[in-house]
Symmetry: D3
């Protein structure tokens, strides 16, 4: 059930039997000359919709822009500062908690969002308590990265070994290829790639990783891999969601 | 050309011949028991993509959540506070200006965003000057509402007369029906509807407009109307975009 | 009744029969080599005092500095950033609502304030609801520009035609001349003036409008015109105020 | 020379021989059932104008609302939070420093502003350095309270002794009576008054000082005293201003 | 009783008989080539612990970094901006008030903190009222500088006369020597020292006071003086604390 | 070398051969009825000083209060909101980078700080770039938790097995016992303890973990264990520091 294709009366009805909502969050950032700028948002959105279909959960609109300041020396990247993203999350959850939601399951497509999202959850719990909302103490946020699902991780290792790397990975590129085959890019990438995993400033990032890849070889990606990643992610995330909703 | 389906090297190439980008912005808010919560985002996104196709412009990711605090007493609404939305816009434009963009064409689907967006533009011009970006003084933002296009306005008047109303209008509902016919809702709406146009707090809004409509009869909407609205909007907005890009 | 010349016990008594207050807001910004830097504040303040006299309304202190970032490349301009002005308005209205006021009638002298004020109203409604003030849901803000009164607009057109322009207009200059005849400036203005109406950054503004005028000829202003403008504005704004106070 | 009655070209000319400006700041707060809510703003504004006349200094618009949170349980009080006032001052001084001003002489009418203003000066020096304005390191702010001038203090002691008190003092009430004789209030005040000088929360303030006075007897005020206070303040503040402008 | 060496159950027990806590605040800033960067924090911390021992008061953790922007052109200085420090204080006091504390006694070692702390107290009173904490209106903050104790001041005058100066004073240096004799520096200081007391920007400060001293001669400091200063400060501050706790 | 016991001239000299600084950060929060409220700050501070002694690194003042909102329903806890802590870190690093430091090694004693610190690093890199500091792109932050050192982790497992738990662990309690044997608490703890590891709001935390422990048995702690933990942490962190300083 997609929030954007629902009406308020349908949401009102949904709230009678569930107070949980899935919020997909991605990023708008360079993914090397081969991966799409929307990679993380696409993966998060499609995983979330798959989980929504599998579990009946309500799925909110995708947050397309996350925390990607370190990618900002590559054109096309858009990022929020961490403090802005925290305000955004706080505003979302305040609206939704006021309406009766208490369980927020974030399906995330970008490693760079993790720290800021966790900080935002803490900020929000405090804010909701300050507002004295009656359901404030029941609110629970959970962060679920599709790319750290163990089944996904295992498949990436099996298919790509060391060439999976840390950014612009073949697994995420494959995921997007499955959904957007028309946007598969034919690009020649340098054989050499920096395999460090150090993230500091945007200027340092571009110096260190000149074409944007971190130890990866996205040329290994294939749409049919993407289908596998998608299905594994949906299955594992669905279980995780159901467990979250059932738990205290 | 969709930013999310492009690579950073493609954006780099695009910037050599154009420094303009289209940013669609909608809202996630109640649109009566008949209209979709994603109405404004859908209309903005599809208009923007149409304009992108017609003009070759780069189209950024849709901002799904805008300024809709007055709708927050209806479940399913999500809103940013104005000050949060201003920070979001400032962050977006700072990234994009740093990369070389200078012309920002916002295609907007929600009246409630207008004031905050204009405030955000002013805040951003000042901020870019503070940062001493070399292209700061060239930056120009333009706000284009699909629903205030004169051709759109005229068609709505012709088709619906007074029943167009001010919120959850048949024109916007028709627009979404054309793109999501599977999400057309069969709902019985009260014949009576408050035809004022006064917006204060969320609590006042719900008291004044109990089902969320402001003077509108969305039951008049038809998908084929939506096609007409879409085509008129794309045509008029494309001209407006081209004029903006050409102008000083 | 001027707040500044009243005591708290008088305000307490006033609140027993009215919960409305007028807040004049202007700007401190260049108005060409002929118009006063305080033009917008003077017009707002005098209009507000006139309405206060005509209706018995309480009139608060004038907000002299508004949102004029685009004028900041001309010396003497002082501006708040939009986010600062929003905080200012929120603080004002929080104090006044706590004291029992619920209807805020802003008499505005500056077009550049409009968007930010509307954003501030939305921010404030949300904030007051967060604070759980008992009268929060009754709070209503209204923005009334003296210069968009239809009678004022018509007179300006009759007197000046196209030479009214958009900034440093003869109508606003005349208004100040009526109140400060000692500050009428004898200046020779260039016959050429840019008649565009495009506002971006401060640097762009100064390039586009080198002496600060936007399509206007303030040399046409006369103090006796100012008297007429003043009287029309007071009359029309008084009616608007009374209707606002009476309305739900 | 009043900024509000000047043009930008006059300010440009002024800046060639002086980079100093006087900024009056008051408060909008209860001053007992006898003193005016605008007392502090009136005293600051009139003192500033007097100094401007005596020294040829440029005088900016009066900041009518300062930091008066502790008075907010009395109706009619309007206050900025300290963090808001800091942003306001920062915005003012950033505009003015960009234009070429470097010496800011605040004439203050309210004790409650002092701490926040000093904090604002520090915040602003840091901000201007961050902006890398060429004249940033020359900027100097000075705070001058009319009511702590030694001559003023002495006269208050001579005229009122212990009954001068700490808030709603006869000296400040007399000052306003001199300028607004039409607003002299005939009120019977209780003979008893709390003579502590402790300021905590607004609720505590109202409990401690039920009618708003802190140890004062404003009934002693006379307009002719006000004239004396005014003249002493202008003389002493003018000297202080000239010394500030001359100093390094 | 040191908060850091206590458990929450001990704090719970303490709260049954006292709602007061001492919060030491210093600064991390240059104190000339002879004084320690931690001078202000050391003096505040040791004074606070002495008062805690003498009175049984609970002593919180030392705030080591305060408002020292004007010292930032000397390496080793760390400062918060005033607005940051205000948020810090507000967060501290909100936590502590929620837990039941209502009397906050700040023992301060740095003149540059005074204005910001006072602004922070006002901001906090307002914030606690907004949160509707049941004990909000009882909250009282008090600022006690060890170096403005009259006995301390008198001893400094007796020992050093004019060479006490205003920054990197022999009294504060002596205080730290008593606690950290191993960190006594042997440095040759210039005989000349600027004896002004003017604080503006960091750049101005360094120009004006090239080695960081303001009119002082810290070479006069001796550890045995430090013992005297410490004992006088503890005695006087203890009385002040007890009076604060006993008072309404 | 402790910053607080150094002078600015010593820091100036230090910067000629190293641009690195260690910043210890802890928390002020409940650690069950047995563990000290200052546990995390003590462990971070002592680890940092040990590393400083072993490597010659400069050690800044301990940040005693971190992000512990989830512990705030236990008295004695003090927390910053995540957005406040981000501002604090940004202010620290801006001062230090301006002075010439570029490598910031945070030794952390509290799991709850991790997300916010990482968000703060990202925010700071962006801010330093905005300021155009010449060394901005060289700045690198590194987070090192003493409790996640592999040697520490292994010893805890060996000594305590499952009873190490997740909060108020015997390892951290032992660490503090070694440094503060006088503050060892004799308390009877319930044999039952919740062994979940779920952190949401403060109210939820207290309901879930009634005495503050998360699956731990701090009664197993002994000062001599603490000595071992301390020595292992210092050794491992020293290597990590040296590697960080040497690396690009």
């Amino acid at each position: 059930m997609l929030l954007h294709l629902s009406t308020w009366t349908e949401v009102e009805a949904y709230l009678k039997h569930s107070q949980a909502i899935i919020l997909p969050i991605g990023s708008t950032e360079q993914h090397s000359p081969m991966g799409l700028i929307g990679t993380d948002a696409i993966c998060a959105q499609e995983s979330a919709r798959g989980v929504g279909d599998a579990t009946g959960a309500l799925v909110g609109p995708t947050i397309h822009v996350g925390m990607a300041l370190h990618h900002c020396d590559f054109p096309g990247t858009i990022s929020l500062r961490p403090t802005t993203l925290i305000q955004v999350i706080k505003d979302y959850l305040t609206c939704l908690t006021t309406a009766g939601f208490t369980k927020f399951f974030f399906i995330n497509g970008h490693g760079g969002n993790i720290a800021t999202l966790k900080a935002a959850f803490a900020e929000t719990y405090g804010h909701l308590a300050d507002l004295r909302l009656p359901n404030a103490s029941l609110v629970k946020c959970r962060l679920a990265n599709w790319f750290t699902c163990s089944s996904v991780y295992q498949l990436a290792k099996d298919l790509y070994g060391d060439q999976e790397g840390d950014h612009a990975t073949p697994s995420e590129v494959a995921f997007t290829q499955y959904f957007y085959p028309e946007a598969i890019k034919e690009v020649h990438l340098s054989a050499e790639v920096c395999s460090e995993n150090k993230i500091y400033s945007a200027a340092d990032f571009r110096r260190r990783y000149p074409d944007g890849r971190m130890g990866s070889n996205p040329a290994l990606a294939k749409p049919e891999h993407g289908k596998q990643f998608y299905e594994l992610a949906v299955k594992e995330l669905s279980n995780y969601y159901l467990e979250f909703v059932a738990g205290e």
